[in-house]
C-alpha cells in the first residue's frame, strides 16, 4: 500500500459499506427479511460472500450478518502522522467492499429486474449483462482450464476515446484474455466506447460489459471465486484456499482507466486479496513490493499503448501468441464473433453453394510446405454479397503423420478460421460454412488467408506430428463437387473405423490431466468407448496430443490386468490414477455410477445421478438451468461432485458418452436412463435412436421422461410405468 492509496481505499470502503447498508435497509422496509435475493441461475448464491464467508445469502434477511461482518472489517481512517500499519487493514477494507458491492448488486436485481440483460450478449441496445450465470461460468471456465483464455482483464472506467478503447480491447482479445468491464470515468464507460467504435461485445467475443458502476466489478471477482469452487473443488468458506487458488491460477488484473476514486481504490484493494494487481493510466502512487500478488500490486501512469503488455508482465502471465499472417486481428477471442447477414461480403456453403473441408495425408515429395493456392476466383473477383463454392483441402506430410490424425487436424479448421476477426465458420466436413465480412475484406482479407492461417496454426499446434502442409482452396463448382464426393467416402471410412474400436481390444488408454491447472488432483482416463467428460477429448485426440507433446497432459496408460470387466476396473489404470492424483484417488471404475465412479471435474458436459425410486439414472446437461428429479440443478450438482472427487451415485460425462456402448454399462447401460432434459434429447436424438435400436428398444428416447413430464422422482415414475420403461424391471440399482 501507499499511504495515499490506503487512506483512499479505507474511505471508499466506508462509503460503499454505508451505501450497501442504506440500500439494504430500504429493501428490508419494502420487501421484508424473507424476500429472496440472488444472481440469476447460479448455485453459488452471492459468490464472493459464499466463497469467502461460506454464507449462502438467499434472502434479504441473510444479508444482515454479512453487513455486520463487513462493518467489523472496516478499519479506522489512516491518521495523517504516525499512522498505524495499514496493509492488512486495507486488504480487509477491500474485502468488506466486495461484500458491500455484492449486496448492492443483488438488491439492484431486486429493484430493477430488467436492468441487466441476463444474456450472453446485449439485448435491444441494453449492453449491461450482469453476473455470469453458471452456464456461462462452466462453458467459459473450460477455456480457462485448457489455456485458451489464460485470464481476464477487469477494466474499470473509460479510455480517452472510443478508438483507444477499441485498440486496448482488441489487444486484450489478441492475448486471448477476457475483458470484464465496469464503472465510468467522466460519465463515459469502456463498454459504451466499444459499442461506439463498432466493436461486437458480449461473452462470445470475450468483451463482457458487466455493468455501469464500480459495484459491477464484483461480478468479475465473483466469477473468479466460483472458478475456485467449481474447478478447484474448494469448499465455500475456505477463503484462504480460494484466494491463493486465484493468485496462483487465475491470471486476472485490473486496468484502471481514468480518475481513480475512493471506491475504485477500495475495489482494487479487494482484488489484491485475490492476487489481482491494478495497472492504471493515471499517475496514482505505485505499490511495487511483492507479496500479496505474485509481483507488483499497483503500477501506474502506464501509456495506453503499453497497458496490456505491462499488465501481463505485472501479473506474471505468459501468453504465447503466434503471429498469423493475416490483415485482421486474430485470436480465440474472436471465435464467438458473428458476421451478420448484412455485413457479409462473401459466403461459401450455408445452403447457397457446396462447401467442404478435407484434410488428407500425402507423401513428403507431394507437399510443398506453406504453398497456398486459390484455384478459381478470389474474393476480389466477386462483388459484395456473393456466394462461391469452396473446397478447402489441407494436404499434410511428415514422418510421424498417421491417417488417424487427419480428422483431428481437419477439426481444427473450424476454430482456427473463426479466430480471424470478421471471418465466421460454422459446421465441418461437407456442411462447412464460411462468411467473410465486408470489414475483413476492406482490411485486405482474402480466401488465400484461410490457407495462411491453417499453415501457421497447424504448424504451431501440431508441428511435431507432421513436417509439411499445403492448402488448396477450390472455388469453382466443377472442382469442388468431385472433391466433395471423395471426401464423403473418406468420412464414412473414418467413422466406421472409430466405431469399430472397443475398450476390450485396445490395450492403451490415455490419461488427461489438462484440468490440473484448475482442478488439482483430477485425473480423467479416456478409452475409445468413454470420451472425456468435457466432450472435448476422445481417445484419438489424446493419442495425437501425446504424439505432439510426449510429456504433456495426455499420457498413454497401459490398462493392464482387467480387475472387473463389468464395472471397468483396470490394474494399470488404478496405479496411474493413484500416482497422478497425488494419492487422492486409489481406484475407480470406468462404467459405473454406483461403485467408485470416475472422478468429475467442473468442466463436465453432463452429470448423471442415480434415481433410486425409479431404479434408474438421470442425466442433465449444463445448459439446462431447471430443477431435476435428483433434487438438484446442474449447477448444484457440479458444485457437489466437481473438483476431482469420486462421488458414488453421481458421475460427470460428455454428451457423446451417452450414446457410446459403455455408457454406465456396469449398472445396466443406457436402458437405465429414465430422465434427461428435452433439449439434450433433441441434441443427441439421431445417435441415441441408433444406439437404442441396437439395444432392442428403438423408442427408448420417447420412454424417457423430461422436464415436461416432471422434475421429481414422484412426478416421473407414473410416466415411466405407463411407458413401461425398461429400467423398472431391471435388478435394483442400489
Amino acid at each position: 500500500m501507499s499511504k495515499i492509496i490506503a487512506s483512499a481505499a479505507i474511505r471508499g470502503a466506508h462509503k460503499l459499506v454505508a451505501r450497501a447498508e442504506e440500500k439494504w435497509q430500504q429493501a428490508m422496509d419494502r420487501w421484508g427479511a424473507k424476500q429472496e435475493v440472488g444472481f440469476p441461475n447460479t448455485g453459488y448464491y452471492l459468490p464472493v460472500i459464499y466463497g469467502i464467508l461460506g454464507v449462502p445469502v438467499k434472502t434479504l434477511g441473510d444479508m444482515e450478518p454479512v453487513l455486520k461482518r463487513a462493518k467489523s472489517l472496516l478499519p479506522p481512517p489512516v491518521r495523517e502522522k504516525v499512522h498505524l500499519p495499514y496493509l492488512g487493514p486495507v486488504l480487509d477494507a477491500g474485502m468488506a467492499t466486495m461484500f458491500a458491492e455484492e449486496i448492492i448488486e443483488a438488491i439492484r436485481y431486486l429493484e430493477e429486474p430488467d436492468f441487466y440483460t441476463k444474456q450472453e450478449e446485449p439485448v435491444d441496445g441494453r449492453i449491461w449483462l450482469g453476473a455470469a450465470d453458471d452456464i456461462i461460468l462452466r462453458r467459459r471456465g473450460i477455456e480457462f482450464v485448457d489455456g485458451t483464455a489464460p485470464g481476464f482483464a477487469a477494466v474499470v472506467g473509460a479510455a480517452p476515446s472510443p478508438e483507444v478503447a477499441a485498440k486496448i480491447a482488441q489487444e486484450l482479445q489478441e492475448k486471448m484474455l477476457y475483458v470484464f468491464m465496469a464503472a465510468e470515468h467522466n460519465g463515459v464507460r469502456f463498454g459504451e466506447q466499444l459499442v461506439e467504435a463498432g466493436v461486437q461485445i458480449g461473452w462470445p467475443t470475450r468483451l463482457v460489459t458487466f455493468g455501469p458502476d464500480i459495484t459491477s466489478a464484483v461480478f468479475a471477482i465473483g466469477f473468479a471465486t466460483r472458478a475456485a469452487m467449481s474447478f478447484g473443488g474448494i469448499e465455500p468458506g475456505d477463503f484462504r484456499k480460494i484466494l491463493i487458488y486465484n493468485k496462483d491460477r487465475i491470471f486476472a488484473f485490473v486496468l484502471a482507466m481514468g480518475t481513480v476514486t475512493d471506491e475504485w481504490y477500495a475495489t482494487a484493494a479487494g482484488a489484491i486479496n485475490w492476487g489481482f494487481p491494478t495497472i492504471a493510466d493515471t499517475p496514482i502512487p505505485q505499490i511495487l513490493p511483492t507479496g500479496v500478488c505474485t509481483y507488483e500490486h499497483v503500477v501506474s501512469n502506464v501509456p495506453h499503448d503499453h497497458m496490456v503488455a505491462k499488465a501481463i508482465e505485472v501479473r506474471g502471465l505468459k501468453v504465447t501468441v503466434t503471429k498469423v499472417p493475416v490483415p485482421v486481428a486474430y485470436g480465440p477471442a474472436f471465435e464467438g464473433e458473428r458476421v451478420r447477414k448484412d455485413d457479409v461480403y462473401l459466403e461459401c456453403g450455408g445452403g447457397h453453394s457446396p462447401c467442404v473441408e478435407w484434410c488428407t495425408m500425402k507423401n513428403m515429395d507431394e507437399v510443398e510446405d506453406g504453398k497456398i493456392e486459390v484455384i478459381g476466383p478470389e474474393i476480389d473477383d466477386v462483388p459484395a454479397g456473393s456466394h462461391l463454392p469452396l473446397a478447402v483441402v489441407v494436404e499434410v506430410a511428415g514422418r510421424k503423420m498417421q491417417e488417424d490424425f487427419e480428422p483431428i487436424l481437419e477439426r481444427q479448421i473450424h476454430h482456427l478460421v473463426n479466430y480471424a476477426q470478421g471471418v465466421m465458420h460454422i459446421g465441418q466436413r461437407d456442411i462447412a460454412w464460411f462468411r467473410i465480412s465486408k470489414q475483413a475484406k476492406e482490411k485486405g482479407f482474402k480466401l488465400r488467408h484461410i490457407g495462411h492461417i491453417l499453415h501457421a496454426k497447424l504448424h504451431q499446434d501440431f508441428g511435431t506430428i507432421f513436417d509439411k502442409v499445403q492448402v488448396k482452396l477450390y472455388t469453382r463448382e466443377e472442382d469442388v463437387l468431385p472433391i466433395l464426393e471423395k471426401a464423403r467416402q473418406v468420412y464414412r471410412a473414418r467413422d466406421e473405423r472409430i466405431e469399430g474400436m472397443t475398450d476390450e481390444t485396445t490395450d492403451v488408454y490415455y490419461s488427461c490431466t489438462l484440468c490440473q491447472s484448475f482442478a488439482p488432483g483430477h485425473v480423467c482416463m479416456i478409452s475409445p468407448e468413454r470420451t472425456g467428460l468435457c466432450g472435448a477429448y476422445n481417445w484419438m485426440d489424446c493419442k495425437a496430443s501425446y504424439e505432439i507433446n510426449p510429456t504433456g497432459p495426455n499420457q498413454p496408460v497401459p490398462k493392464g490386468e482387467c480387475l472387473d470387466p463389468k464395472l471397468g476396473r483396470f490394474k494399470g489404470v488404478d496405479e496411474f490414477v493413484a500416482k497422478a492424483s497425488r494419492g487422492k484417488i486409489q481406484t475407480y471404475n470406468f462404467y459405473s455410477i454406483v461403485h467408485n465412479p470416475m472422478t468429475t471435474c467442473g468442466c463436465c458436459e453432463c452429470i448423471a445421478a442415480v434415481l433410486p425410486i425409479c431404479n434408474g439414472v438421470m442425466t442433465v446437461n449444463r445448459e439446462y438451468t431447471g430443477m431435476t428429479p435428483c433434487g438438484m440443478k446442474f449447477t448444484t450438482l457440479a458444485g457437489m461432485v466437481g473438483g476431482g472427487v469420486s462421488t458414488p451415485g453421481f458421475v460427470g460425462h460428455s454428451k457423446y458418452y451417452i450414446t457410446q456402448r459403455k455408457f454406465i454399462a456396469g449398472d445396466g447401460g443406457l436402458l437405465r436412463l429414465v430422465w434427461m432434459p428435452k433439449m439434450l434429447k433433441e441434441e443427441i436424438r439421431e445417435r441415441f435412436e441408433k444406439r437404442a435400436a441396437e439395444l432392442g428398444v428403438p423408442d427408448l428416447l420417447d420412454r424417457i421422461a423430461d422436464e415436461t413430464v416432471g422434475v421429481t422422482e414422484e412426478e416421473i415414475l407414473p410416466f415411466l410405468e405407463e411407458k413401461q420403461h425398461p429400467a423398472l424391471t431391471m435388478e435394483p440399482i442400489l
Binding site: 504516525v82 500499519p85 492488512g88 484466494l243 491460477r249 511495487l288 513490493p289 507479496g291 502471465l317
Partner: protein
C-alpha cells in the same frame, strides 16, 4: 569529567542530568565515573566459587591462554573459570525470565479459578493454541477449565525432569534436530538452571566446551521455555498486542497530574495499576488533592508491556529511572522485579516521591513495601495509587519536565505481523519473505537489550539501528533498546523515508510500518524467535533459522538476562553481536569457542564489537553471506507462468 551532552543522545536525559547535578543528586551516570569496572571481573578471570580463592587467573600482559596456562588453586584453567562465570550469568538471566514466566502461569491459574479478581482471559484463541501445544483436551470444556490446565501444564514445564520442553516443537524441524543431536534440548526449566549451579560448583564440570553445551541448554530453557511461557500466557491474560500509538520520553509526565511510574518487568501489577488509575473513586480523590487526573507512565520492560497493550506512555528506559524522579513530578514509583536500582529511595529522598516495592522477591531498604498478590490485586493497586495521590500535595523543590516526548507505533506481536502483511484473509509472512528474496529488504536484525552507563546512553542503539535500516535491514526490537530508538524517532512510519534505504522504505510504505519494529519487553524476545521461525516456515529462505539473512545484537547490554538471551539466540541459529564489554576476554580459548567454535555446533556464533557502526557492518556482512548461500544475492528473473507451469503447481 564528561560533559552531560556526551553522556546521552537523549535530550531529556541530558537536561535532567544537569538538574540532578545542580541539586546534588547521585545517578548511575555519575557513579559510573567514580566506580571503575573491576578489571579482573570484567575479563571474567576471577573465580570465587570456593574458599580456596578467590583466585585471579590473570595472564601476563600481552599473552593469551593459548600460549600460557594460569590456574587457580584447584587447578582450574582460565578458560574453565571463564566458562563457569559465563554460565552463571546465563543461569541468573534464565532464572529471572523464567521466574517471571512462572508468576504469570500462577496468575493465569488463579484468574481461571476466579481467585484473582480483576484478571480475566483476554485472548481465548491463543489459549486454545496453547492447549494444543500442551496436548490439553479442548472439546466443549469451559474456557476456565482449559485455562487452569494450560496454566498447570506451563508450571509443570518448570519442574519437569525429563523429556523435552513443549515449545521446542515450535522451532523449525531442522533446528530441533540440531539440538537433539547435540543433546541440548532442555528437559525442564528449573532443572537446567540448577544444573548450571551444580556444574559450576567447585570441582564438577571443568571442560569449557561441555560447560558451554549445558549453558546453551539452560539458555534454550529460557528462550523457548520460561520467556516464551511468560509472553504467551501474558497474551492470554492481557491480550495479544496489536499496533498502537505510543508516546515516549520524560515529557509524558504531567506536572498537574498525579504521576505514577510503574517500573520493572511484570505486567501483572502494572495492568492493575492502569485500572486503578481509571477508577472514579481514585480520580475523585486525585482531584480533591488538586490534581487534574492520574497519569500512569512506565519505565523499562513494565513500560513496554503496558504500552503494547494499552498505549500507556513510556517515561524512559533503564538509565532514566533516577532521572524521572529528578523531574520532581513523580508522586510514586512502583517497582517489582529486575533492573531496579537500589539508589531509587536515595534519589527519592531529595524529592517527595514514594518508592513502593511490591514483590516479595524484591525489597529495597528505604522503600515502602506494599506487597502485591494476584488474589488481592485490585486493592493493592488502589492502595498504591492512593499513596501516590497522597504524595501529590507534598511535592517539594523545583519541577522540571523536559519538553521531550515522541510519538511512535508499537504493538507488534508475531501474530500481528502475520495479520498486517495480508489482512484477515491472506495473513502470512509471504510479503516479508518475498521482499527479502527480491532484495528490497536485505535482512532482519533483532536489536535488543539494556542501557549501560559505560557507554553513551542510547547512542549505541540508535547509531547501530540507523546504520542497519540505512542498509535495508528491517530491525525488530524489544526492551530498553526499543525505547531508545522510539525516543530517537525511528519507530514512526515517517522514519522509513527519512532513515531507511530505498528498498526497505518502499516495503515500509507498502505495509505502513516503521522500519524499526517494537515487539515488546525482554521476555518478548521469544516473539522474535517465533517470527524467525514463521519466516523459515513460510519458505524460500532455507529450512532453519540459521539459514535466514538475520542477525541479533545487544549493543548496550548490562544484565545477566542479556547474556541468557544472547545465548539462546545463538543456540537458535542467530549470529549475535554484543557491545560495551565482553565477559570472557580473559580467556582467548573460551572466547574463540564462543566467537568461532560454536558455528560448527549450532551454525551460529557470538561476536563482540563495541563500535555500533562496525557491529552493524558485521551483521550486514553476515546477512549478505546468508543471502549468497541462499542464492538470493543476485536479482532474479521474473517468472511468467503459462498453462503447463500452472499444472505443475501443487494442489493447495
Amino acid at each position: 569529567m564528561a560533559e552531560n551532552t556526551d553522556r546521552s543522545v537523549c535530550p531529556a536525559t541530558v537536561q535532567l542530568l544537569g538538574k540532578a547535578q545542580q541539586e546534588g543528586v547521585s545517578t548511575a551516570f555519575f557513579r559510573a565515573d567514580q566506580v571503575k569496572p573491576c578489571p579482573i571481573g570484567a575479563d571474567g578471570s576471577c573465580c570465587r566459587n570456593c574458599a580456596m580463592g578467590p583466585c585471579r587467573v590473570l595472564l601476563p600482559r600481552g599473552k593469551s591462554d593459548l600460549e600460557v596456562e594460569v590456574t587457580g588453586v584447584c587447578g582450574a584453567t582460565t578458560d574453565t573459570i571463564s566458562a563457569r562465570n559465563f554460565l552463571r550469568m546465563i543461569a541468573a538471566g534464565a532464572a529471572a525470565h523464567s521466574d517471571h514466566g512462572r508468576a504469570v502461569a500462577e496468575t493465569l491459574i488463579a484468574a481461571a479459578k476466579g481467585e484473582a479478581p480483576g484478571y480475566s482471559i483476554k485472548d481465548e484463541y491463543k489459549l486454545m493454541k496453547l492447549a494444543l501445544d500442551f496436548g490439553i483436551e479442548v472439546g466443549d470444556r469451559p474456557i476456565e477449565d482449559i485455562a487452569v490446565d494450560v496454566g498447570r501444564a506451563a508450571l509443570a514445564q518448570f519442574s519437569q525432569q525429563e523429556g523435552e520442553l513443549a515449545f521446542i516443537k515450535k522451532a523449525p524441524l531442522k533446528r530441533q534436530e540440531i539440538w537433539r543431536n547435540l543433546g541440548i534440548v532442555p528437559r525442564g526449566i528449573d532443572r537446567e538452571i540448577v544444573e548450571i549451579m551444580h556444574r559450576t560448583h567447585m570441582g564438577v564440570d571443568q571442560d569449557p566446551e561441555s560447560l558451554l553445551m549445558h549453558g546453551m541448554r539452560a539458555a534454550l530453557a529460557d528462550g523457548w521455555g520460561g520467556s516464551m511461557i511468560g509472553t504467551e500466557l501474558q497474551d492470554v491474560l492481557f491480550g495479544t498486542p496489536q499496533p498502537i500509538l505510543g508516546q515516549v520520553n520524560l515529557g509524558v509526565l504531567k506536572p498537574d497530574h498525579v504521576n505514577v511510574i510503574v517500573h520493572g518487568h511484570e505486567p501483572l501489577l502494572s495492568e492493575m495499576i492502569v485500572l486503578a488509575a481509571e477508577d472514579p473513586e481514585m480520580l475523585a480523590l486525585a482531584r480533591a488533592k488538586g490534581a487534574q487526573g492520574i497519569n500512569v507512565a512506565g519505565i523499562c520492560c513494565t513500560a513496554n508491556e503496558i504500552l503494547m497493550r494499552h498505549g500507556i506512555p513510556i517515561a524512559g528506559n533503564f538509565l532514566q529511572q533516577e532521572l524521572a524522579i529528578v523531574t520532581g513530578v513523580v508522586d510514586a514509583m512502583v517497582v517489582d522485579v529486575q533492573c531496579i536500582m537500589q539508589s531509587l529511595p536515595k534519589v527519592a529522598q531529595c524529592y517527595h516521591t514514594r518508592i513502593i516495592t511490591t514483590s516479595n522477591r524484591a525489597r529495597i531498604p528505604g522503600a515502602t513495601h506494599i506487597e502485591f498478590h494476584e488474589h488481592d490485586a485490585v486493592n493493592a493497586a488502589k492502595a498504591i495509587v492512593r499513596a501516590a495521590i497522597e504524595a501529590f500535595p507534598h511535592r517539594t523543590g523545583r519541577v522540571e519536565v523536559p519538553p521531550h516526548q515522541v510519538d511512535f507505533v508499537a504493538g507488534f506481536s508475531h501474530e500481528t505481523i502475520e495479520y498486517l502483511l495480508g489482512g484477515v484473509f491472506r495473513s502470512s509472512y509471504r510479503p516479508l519473505n518475498d521482499n527479502i528474496i527480491n532484495g528490497r529488504i536485505r535482512g532482519v536484525a533483532g536489536v535488543v537489550g539494556c542501557n549501560n552507563p559505560r557507554v553513551e546512553h542510547d547512542a549505541v542503539h540508535v547509531a547501530m539501528v540507523k546504520e542497519l535500516i540505512k542498509n535495508d535491514v528491517l530491525v525488530l526490537q524489544t526492551g530498553c533498546s526499543a525505547i531508545a530508538c522510539a525516543k530517537a524517532g525511528l519507530m514512526t512510519p515517517e522514519a522509513a523515508s527519512q532513515y531507511a534505504g530505498g528498498g526497505l522504505a518502499e516495503v515500509c510504505e507498502t505495509v505502513g510500518i516503521p522500519p524499526v519494529i517494537h515487539m515488546g519487553s525482554c521476555v518478548d524476545n521469544s516473539r522474535i524467535l517465533m517470527a524467525a521461525t514463521a519466516m523459515v516456515k513460510e519458505g524460500g529462505l532455507g529450512d532453519d533459522i540459521s539459514d535466514l539473512p538475520a542477525a541479533g545484537a545487544a549493543p548496550e547490554w548490562m544484565s545477566e538476562k542479556a547474556i541468557s538471551i544472547g545465548q539462546y539466540f545463538v543456540a537458535s541459529g542467530v549470529f549475535t553481536v554484543f557491545g560495551v564489554t565482553w565477559p570472557t576476554t580473559g580467556s582467548e580459548k573460551f572466547s574463540r569457542l564462543l566467537f568461532e567454535g560454536l558455528e560448527e555446533k549450532v551454525k551460529a556464533r557470538w561476536a563482540y564489537e563495541p563500535d555500533p557502526i562496525k557491529a552493524a557492518k558485521l551483521m550486514i556482512e553476515h546477512i549478505d553471506a546468508k543471502r549468497k548461500a541462499l542464492g538470493i544475492d543476485k536479482a532474479r528473473e521474473r517468472v511468467l507462468y503459462d498453462m503447463a507451469m500452472r499444472r505443475e503447481l501443487e494442489a493447495l
